[in-house]
């Protein structure tokens, strides 16, 4: 039991340290900004006030907890969209584009089936989002498997393509009359039903359900074994008779499917697709996956952490006058410290378990190539 605990502690050490360091740097920024906002006076207690407001905003009330879970829901999916890729040695930067494509498809199909009974409409709209996301992951998968085009490069380009194409489509073709901003039609009955609090929709339950499903897929099925083998040692996978090409296509599609679902959750809880729908949750998936060490349970925890920051930020702004944008800074810092894992381990002399070989290979090889 103690050994198990220490193993867990070793795995969690670097993510936890990254969070602590990011919050520390954030505290310095808050102090410095207090010089400007507080009329030239340094307020040494401000970081404490701000972080206390952040925590109580995220967890201090039922409303806060529900908001945290709602914010965490799409991040679980976009985190898996990156984490599952890591397992196969793939770095899916395309979560952002897959989110947009999935969300857009869910909005259009949702509006078309909005007159059906809610369970049917929701299921069809989510399915549409998942399939569209998977298709948008399939493209870089095929490109990599059959031409060697690196997924980092192709998914970054596909992100831009999705972003501009969909903004154009919403503005020109699918825009509805009435609202003062460009958006698609209401999804009607495909709106995700709320089961708790003001906005606690059923997507929360789906996010909680998908974690054990992915765990089961990766560690209990032959497909998961193949994915992990190809990620850990592609040569051995070939030797064992697996087809790395097939697995790359399957895994990238699977990543796209998760991201597409994440985008669908956002859109179907909002009720329509706004032209300004952003790419933030897609990119946050990278931080979530690294925080969670590419493990489904870790990804769930990482998503809740980032979700809590989003949910608590408004309280922080109201009570401590610290702008909500600080959250983006902290999130960026977490990613930075996670990426500098080796440096952190050395400089702080932490006896931490290193990243899995899949992660190291994937992140470090990403820009250099390393084809099939």
């Amino acid at each position: 039991m103690r050994r198990l605990l220490s193993t867990w502690a070793a795995i969690a050490a670097v993510p936890v340290l990254s969070i602590v360091l990011a919050l520390g740097v954030g505290a310095i920024l808050i102090l410095v900004s207090s010089l400007a906002t507080g009329g030239g006076k340094l307020d040494p207690g401000l970081p404490i006030t701000a972080y206390a407001a952040l925590i109580s905003g995220a967890f201090g009330s039922e409303k806060g907890i529900v908001s945290t879970l709602v914010a965490a829901t799409p991040l679980v999916f976009t985190g898996l969209a990156v984490g599952v890729g890591f397992k196969a040695g793939l770095f899916n930067i395309g979560g952002a584009g897959q989110v947009l494509v999935g969300g857009f498809a869910a909005a259009l199909v949702g509006a078309a089936v909005g007159g059906q009974p809610a369970p049917v409409a929701v299921a069809i709209a989510l399915l549409a989002g998942a399939v569209a996301g998977a298709a948008y992951g399939f493209i870089p998968g095929v490109l990599k498997a059959f031409t060697g085009a690196h997924e980092v490069v192709s998914t970054i380009m596909l992100n831009s393509l999705a972003s501009f194409a969909i903004v154009g489509l919403v503005n020109d073709i699918f825009k509805i009359e009435g609202p003062t901003f460009a958006r698609t039609a209401d999804v009607g009955n495909a709106l995700l039903p709320v089961f708790i609090g003001r906005n606690g929709h059923i997507g929360i339950l789906l996010a909680l359900a998908v974690v054990p499903i992915v765990y089961f897929l990766l560690w209990r099925t032959t497909l998961g074994f193949e994915i992990r083998t190809v990620g850990a040692n592609p040569s051995a996978a070939r030797y064992a008779g697996m087809s790395p090409r097939r697995l790359i296509v399957i895994t990238m599609s699977l990543c796209g499917l998760f991201a597409g679902l994440g985008g669908s959750m956002e859109i179907l809880s909002l009720g329509y697709y706004p032209a300004v729908f952003g790419t933030a949750i897609g990119f946050a998936g990278i931080t979530v996956a690294l925080l969670g060490r590419a493990h489904p349970v870790g990804i769930l925890l990482g998503a809740i952490l980032l979700g809590a920051m989003r949910a608590g930020a408004p309280s922080m702004q109201i009570e401590a006058k610290v702008p909500v944008e600080l959250i983006d800074v902290i999130q960026g810092l977490i990613l930075l410290f996670l990426a500098a894992e080796v440096m952190i381990r050395r400089s702080l002399r932490v006896r931490a378990k290193g990243a899995t070989p899949e992660e190291i290979h994937t992140v470090s090889r990403s820009y250099g190539g390393g084809t099939v």
């Binding site: 209990r220 099925t221 032959t222 074994f225 083998t229 850990a232 040692n233 030797y239 064992a240 008779g241």
Partner: protein, 562 residues
């Protein structure tokens, strides 16, 4: 710890050391202080005592062999000497003075040089540049003094009997010469205690002879050498003294003239070892594996396999001998389905399997033990149990439909660990935590335990200790007796000679000879390996291998795989 700090040796000038050397090389036991004493060195890792009160001393101008199986604690001891690990207990003395070695750069300052098994050279840089790395001779604050460095390197090579061109690039040197560059690197840093970790593992017999000559010359000049190996005959040939360690303890010391291979093997393994497996008689029957005019390209698109044809019968072992890089790797990969042959056919049990992938070949009854177990044979980060089903993971009973059956995997793994004597704390330990010998046993357990008609073995015992070699050889013989057609590719001529019924000699992508093993003569095979010709004389062979480094590199590269 009893050891104390000491300032870096100021006597790093070779001129100062010279006197010491001359005084001490004449007779043994030598007067004056010992070059190195390691006293009661103990190092514990969680769950294992890697070094248990080890004593080791090395005299000036002595080649001292450190003999032990994989995992016996040789590497730990040398890491402690090189400052890469800190001992929990014990004392290190250099030239009579207790020292604390604080990292590799400290070790180098104190005159300790390490030549690793895997060379640490930059292929695109020249000999001089590689030697200078980290130890730049500066003409002034900004620029390197290359001329001075080149001169020093030439002088050193001259002094120790190997003339080397400092401007040649590492990638154009043969493996044997690269090793000399590593040695030169240590000498340039004024090493007077040289540690060589399995230096012959990558060399051909001829290169081994040449490097031994270099080592003897170094010894005669006064350098102390620790020679790590598990090849008994080499140790007997080169060492002045031999210390044997087993499971972290010194189990004996020997002088070559008072011992033999059997004695050393027994000391090393702890029991009586049969060095040459009792192969019994083979009873071959019909042809089950048939290769016709097979051609294959290497990674650079050059033809590496040029028309190989052979029939292998069930119940016989066909050995393929040859100097590394003559197309064996490409041949094996073509047969195993990892490389598409450019032309020719392969038949397995009457079925045409030309160009089929690994999955189809496995289904047709082929098992393959790859030469590079860490690259192909295992997924090091996975548990042993997953590795034991790596090629059967989706077949019953290990999986039904798409669901894996962990219990079936675990029970097979536990049986395999017992039957094949794989030393591991548990079936769930990562493959990377096992020693090389045990990793190979895991691959062998997996591949031998299948229903098979053809068994393809590529370097099945490379880098293994005698105990593991004996075990694996027995398993191979048992498979032969069970009727498998076995193809054995090995860089160890002795292994091919011992196990095979017939021997094919591969030279520049072709089989230049196919002989019956019982009537084959070792010298004749060696000559065929070196020249590809039966009528070549020994003098001609010697001329080829004594050629300059460029020529050696060129002939090696011309052979195909390069």
């Amino acid at each position: 710890m009893a050891a104390s700090f000491r300032t870096p040796r100021d006597g790093a000038d070779p001129g100062v050391d010279r006197g010491l050397h001359e005084r001490t090389t004449m007779t043994a036991p030598a007067p004056g202080p010992l070059r190195l004493e390691m006293l009661g060195i103990t190092k514990r890792y969680p769950g294992v005592v890697a070094n248990d009160a080890i004593d080791l001393d090395v005299r000036p101008g002595e080649i001292h062999a450190l003999l032990g199986e994989n995992g016996a604690g040789k590497s730990t001891l040398m890491n402690i000497l090189y400052g890469l690990a800190t001992p929990d207990d014990g004392e290190i003395r250099l030239d009579g003075e207790a020292v604390r070695i604080d990292g590799p750069s400290d070790a180098i300052r104190r005159g300790i040089g390490m030549v690793h098994q895997h060379f640490k050279l930059v292929p695109v840089l020249s000999v001089a540049e590689n030697i200078l790395l980290g130890e730049e001779t500066m003409a002034n604050a900004v620029f390197l003094d290359r001329d001075e460095a080149r001169r020093q390197i030439k002088d050193l090579g001259h002094r120790f009997g190997f003339e080397i061109d400092p401007d040649i690039r590492i990638e154009n040197l043969s493996v044997g010469w690269q090793q000399r560059v590593e040695i030169l690197k240590a000498l340039y840093r004024k090493a007077n205690l040289l540690v060589l970790d399995e230096p012959t593992a990558v060399l051909t017999p001829q290169e081994t002879k040449e490097i031994f000559a270099v080592l003897r010359r170094l010894r005669d000049e006064g350098t102390s050498i620790i020679f790590i190996s598990h090849k008994l005959y080499e140790v007997l040939e080169i060492a002045d003294r031999i210390t044997v360690i087993r499971r972290g303890k010194v189990v004996g010391s020997r002088v070559p003239r008072e011992t033999d291979e059997d004695d050393l093997a027994e000391l090393m393994v702890g029991r009586n070892v049969q060095l040459i497996v009792d192969r019994g008689e083979s009873h071959p029957d019909g042809v089950v594996f048939s290769i016709t005019d097979l051609h294959a390209l290497d990674d650079r698109g050059h033809e590496a396999v040029r028309g190989v044809s052979v029939d292998v019968r069930g119940g016989e072992i066909l050995g393929i001998a040859g100097v590394a890089g003559n197309g064996q790797e490409e041949l094996v990969e073509s047969l195993a389905g990892l490389r598409r042959p450019s032309s020719g056919t392969v038949h397995l049990g009457g079925q045409d399997v030309t160009g089929r992938g690994p999955r189809a070949l496995q289904a047709a009854g082929m098992s393959f033990v790859p030469g590079d177990r860490q690259r192909f044979g295992l997924v090091l980060s996975f548990p042993i149990e997953d590795n034991l089903v790596l090629t059967q993971y989706d077949e019953p009973p290990y999986a039904r439909w798409i669901l894996r059956d962990d219990e079936a995997v675990r029970s097979w793994a536990e049986r395999a660990i017992k039957d094949y004597d794989i030393r591991t704390p548990s079936a769930s330990a990562a493959a990377s935590s096992l020693s090389g010998g045990n990793q190979q046993k895991a691959v062998v357990a997996r591949e031998f335990s299948r229903d098979l008609t053809v068994l393809l073995l590529d370097q099945p015992t490379r880098g293994l200790d005698v105990g593991s070699i004996e075990f694996i050889h027995r398993q191979v013989i048992a498979k032969r007796d069970a009727g498998a057609a076995i193809v054995l590719v090995s860089a160890e001529l002795d292994e091919v000679m011992e196990l095979s019924d017939r021997i094919a000699v591969m030279y520049r992508g072709e089989f230049v000879a196919l002989v019956d093993a019982p009537t084959a003569e070792r010298d004749q095979i060696g000559l065929l390996m070196a020249t590809g010709r039966r009528d070549a004389t020994l003098a001609a062979a010697a001329a080829t291998t004594m050629a300059s480094p460029d020529e050696i590199a060129a002939s090696g590269g011309g052979a195909g795989a390069g």
